[in-house]
Amino acid sequence: MDGSAFNKRRPIILSWFLFLGVPFALTYFIWDWFASFPDIQPRFFTQSYPASQKMRDELVYIRQTNRLHPENERRIIHASLETAKLLKVPPSLLWCLLFQESRLNHLLGLDGSRSSYGLGQFTHFGFYEINYQMHRYDHAHNEALVKLLGKDVRPILPHIDDPKSPSSYFSIPTAVVATGLYLRNRYLHLTRILEERDYKYDPQILWLYAAMAYNKGTRGILSFWNEQQNQGGRSRVKDLVLNKKIFFNVATQPRIYEAGFARIWSFQKSKHYSKELAIHLKNISSCALTPQKEIPQ
């Protein structure tokens, strides 16, 4: 095309450029604006916890009766936010788990009267896992421990004689980090089991299962899944790990866990643990999740 022909066609070329280019540019900028806009959908895990009014009232009561010192509360919040960020645990879930287990009393069990200790109510076997078995779940956990506490403080134990020691589970930052790691181990273990069986899952639902496994043992959850698989096949388990609506409709009913627990325990104990597990899930959900009515299904 020579110069004079180009000059003649220039208005047409320019028109086409404007006709196609402007909508394209507009679309791109609108997309970019929405992509960077703050979330307009409510999150599954709330950013303001505890979410339920009942628990907020209880928290106020605990403060007012001096069972929770403001400085300790601040340290728990700070440690749980830092831990959640590094370990990619939902912050509300971690905080609510600590609240559920100990009502944020970091010295619970200091007098040696209990089988479990501190903020996350760790048992001796929980300490063993944190101290010696972290590599089994994620090799990065050792690094996370160092980043969060400044150094590897293991072995972590319930040092009754020196509760403020960084290696003591009665030290707030140590307790929060150890609890976060243990919770994440449960999550990684459950997701790995599902992935090995080619199950797709919703990670948010799996975090709730991890909190349930923290409370009642991984065996309780796997027995539940085995029982559901026996009754309804793979599709039943798939619904329970992928579909939030089905999960909440089913998993908050106490009786749903009885058959699974009955594989392990006596009839009476099965009923008792089932009820406890359903209550635990309800409490964790009401504390850590955006109220259900706001969450789009």
């Binding site: 089988s115 010696y132 796997l222 085995n226 406890e276």
Partner: protein
């Protein structure tokens, strides 16, 4: 040497195409003794094979299985590792038959729980707990059985104990594990110290 030579010679004659053809013709002759004899042998062998197959379907009484499981620790104490392995092998056979043939709910539960802690390979692949057992206590048990009473066995036992407690315990206020898990830990506690 001569005997072997003669035997080989007779065998090669018996298996020669000509002889085989002759045998087949003799067999196909109605009413021949050869035919009757062959049928009797086939029926007898088939009958015994069927008996063996039937016996594999019959599961022992579940209480017997439970008792055999519960007695493994004392078998080790009295008879050592060899006796233990013989009894464990028999228990494995019983558990396997129970899983296959005894459809009673209680029997299936007991057999499944024993399998989980001693013979996880008997569990179906769909069982969510199978992989946990294969990873978290079966290898440790194998080390303990290979080196009973050794220091490394004691370390493996402590690891297994922690794994099972973390896996099962449903109550932090009053920690506990199932009877089956408790029995398993007792067996390997004894084995790792003596």
């Amino acid at each position: 040497m001569k005997l072997i030579k003669n035997t080989l010679r007779d065998l090669s004659h018996a298996l020669s195409p000509k002889n085989i053809e002759k045998e087949i013709r003799s067999f196909l002759k109605p009413g021949s003794h050869h035919q009757w004899a062959t049928m009797v042998i086939i029926v007898s062998v088939g009958f015994f094979a069927y008996l063996i197959f039937l016996s594999s379907l019959i599961a022992p009484d579940i209480q017997i299985v439970q008792d055999r499981f519960n007695s493994l620790a004392s078998i080790y104490e009295l008879g050592g590792i060899k006796q233990f392995q013989i009894k464990k092998s028999k228990l494995r056979r019983d558990v396997s038959r129970t899983l296959r043939a005894n459809k009673a709910k209680r029997a299936q539960l007991i057999a499944t729980n024993i399998s989980l802690y001693l013979f996880p390979d008997l569990l179906p692949d769909e069982n969510f707990e199978k992989q946990v057992a294969l990873e978290q206590w079966l290898p440790l048990q194998q080390v303990i059985e290979k080196h009973p009473g050794a220091h490394q066995s004691r370390l493996k036992f402590e690891e297994m104990k922690s794994n099972i407690w973390n896996y099962e315990n449903p109550d932090k206020a009053a920690p506990k594990i199932s009877n089956t898990a408790s029995t398993i830990l007792h067996i390997y506690d004894v084995m790792s110290t003596r």
